[in-house]
Point group: none
Chain length 300, copies 2
């Protein structure tokens, strides 16, 4: 039984006559009549009794009608789903990102994406870089955003921008008078920064050495956002990425670090998996959102 035969059978059952069923399906009456007769021939039993030029469903027709209706509805549903997929109106986009881009870039990207594709489910995972790579490999996320571009060969990394460092000062700190800080300003201060053997820690150390300054954090953190509480408690000055919207935290003041190293901002995807159309549209939005956020930073 072909899908078309199913539709014709259902239309005749619902409409009661061949002519009305043909109108329902927007085809000619003889065409529908042919399909119906041919279907009965293939099935080996009649679906309708012809009595005085009219049709009456046989018990066999009544028997298979519920199944036919259910299947036909399922096929219609699948057709709708595929057209939604073609237009990028259905699906699920999962993005894994480290906390800074997750808080600074994804909200803007998701807002614009949602405005254009309200029926696509969005999911954001905030995770450290190693977890992001694992999720991309496992297919638990199709896109990633991280502040590192040195990644395993099976992960494709596209650098979409870069951002410098910021200094987070407790309120009332002596250095607040300066609008911009340098590494030299920080010599001798209690420092909160990334733990050793990570990329930002190495770059900071390298830059400090180049400028003849000795820096050694007295409090090491893993994710920049965890610095907030320590700075608020007056434990020192945090030297972290400038991407996170630090201004929104009370009890600390932000000052950019001049002449410091830069973080790359990378858009990640697994080379082993293809992106869906929805993923690709989200990727475009993330690129645009990143550019917009960096533009705001440059202006400020």
């Amino acid at each position: 039984m072909r899908a078309r035969q199913l539709e014709v059978f259902i239309a005749v059952m619902r409409a009661g006559t061949v002519t009305a069923a043909a109108r329902m399906l927007n085809i000619s009456q003889p065409a529908l009549s042919q399909i119906l007769l041919h279907t009965e021939d293939e099935l080996g039993f009649t679906l309708f009794e012809r009595v005085k030029g009219r049709l009456r469903p046989t018990p066999e027709a009544l028997e298979i009608f519920p199944d036919a209706e259910r299947l036909s509805a399922g096929l219609d549903g699948l057709r709708r789903k595929t057209t939604d997929l073609r237009l990028g109106r259905a699906g699920l986009v999962r993005v894994a990102a480290s906390p800074p881009p997750a808080m600074a870039i994804l909200p803007r990207a998701f807002t614009r994406f949602r405005a254009q594709h309200p029926n696509i489910l969005l999911r954001s995972h905030s995770a450290p870089i190693a977890a992001i790579v694992d999720m991309l490999r496992a297919g638990d996320a199709s896109l990633g955003v991280a502040m590192d571009d040195r990644l395993p060969p099976d992960v494709e990394a596209e650098v979409i921008g870069s951002i410098g460092f910021a200094c987070l000062l407790p309120t009332g700190h002596a250095l607040l008078g300066k609008a911009e800080l340098t590494l030299a300003d920080l010599a001798g201060e209690e420092l909160i920064s990334y733990r050793g053997n990570t990329r930002p820690a190495d770059e900071l150390a390298h830059a400090a050495r180049a400028q003849g300054v000795a820096l050694s954090p007295s409090l090491e953190i893993d994710a920049s956002i965890s610095a907030v509480g320590f700075v608020q408690a007056g434990l020192g000055i945090a030297l972290v990425d400038a991407l996170l919207p630090w201004q929104q935290f009370a009890g600390l003041v932000v000052r950019p670090l001049s002449a410091g190293p830069e973080f790359p901002i990378a858009l990640l995807a697994s080379r082993a998996r293809a992106l869906s159309r929805a993923d690709e549209m989200m990727r475009d939005e993330i690129r645009a959102a990143c550019a917009a956020v960096l533009g705001q930073h440059a202006k400020a």
Copy 2:
């Protein structure tokens, strides 16, 4: 999306390559390749990424695969149903049941049904519970009878009675003197019963523990009816459901087990499928037959 395209898509997803899928469907590789390409053209998005001469499903393909499988299985079920209908003039009622109800309940239900509806074909399938569930899902049976009421959510289970355990003794056994046995009587005997990690085995073990008796079958069986041969051979005492008409087997004697657990007797149907009128009439007959059989047990 035509039915054939659905089949081709599923075959390629399952087989992994076009060539293997073509073998599965018994058509040539170019034919299947054409259908697949044409399907992608019609859908407007690609289902498989061609990389190094191999296929890899896109996220869209993964998204629609479950629906496609469900629909295709439904179509297959309908095709089977129509061929069944061709052979049976006025309808067909198919009941899948585990062996005990199939032998104890269905004969009576079928007898009364046949008397009232002589033109409806009847078919009984004796099968283990997992196969019954599969048949209900696929539409290969519309009703099921099993001795378990813990079933998947897409299967409707109506408990229509319950039955205890019976002990099957070899002729000449010492315990024959008792008209009724308890779990304590069986301690130390060679036992034949359900294998571990099945529901009846667990319930027996639980009841034995509650009564302070240690029971451990030395011969494990899957379906109770297979105990007959072992008891006849003198391998021990079987502890099985009391529903099967054990009396009709020569070479063994039945004694009820008192204070033991009970099996539920459940009438099953797929929630996803409507019952035909004939199915509903058969369901009524099965309920009545079950009540009658259980009534005989109570009297005896």
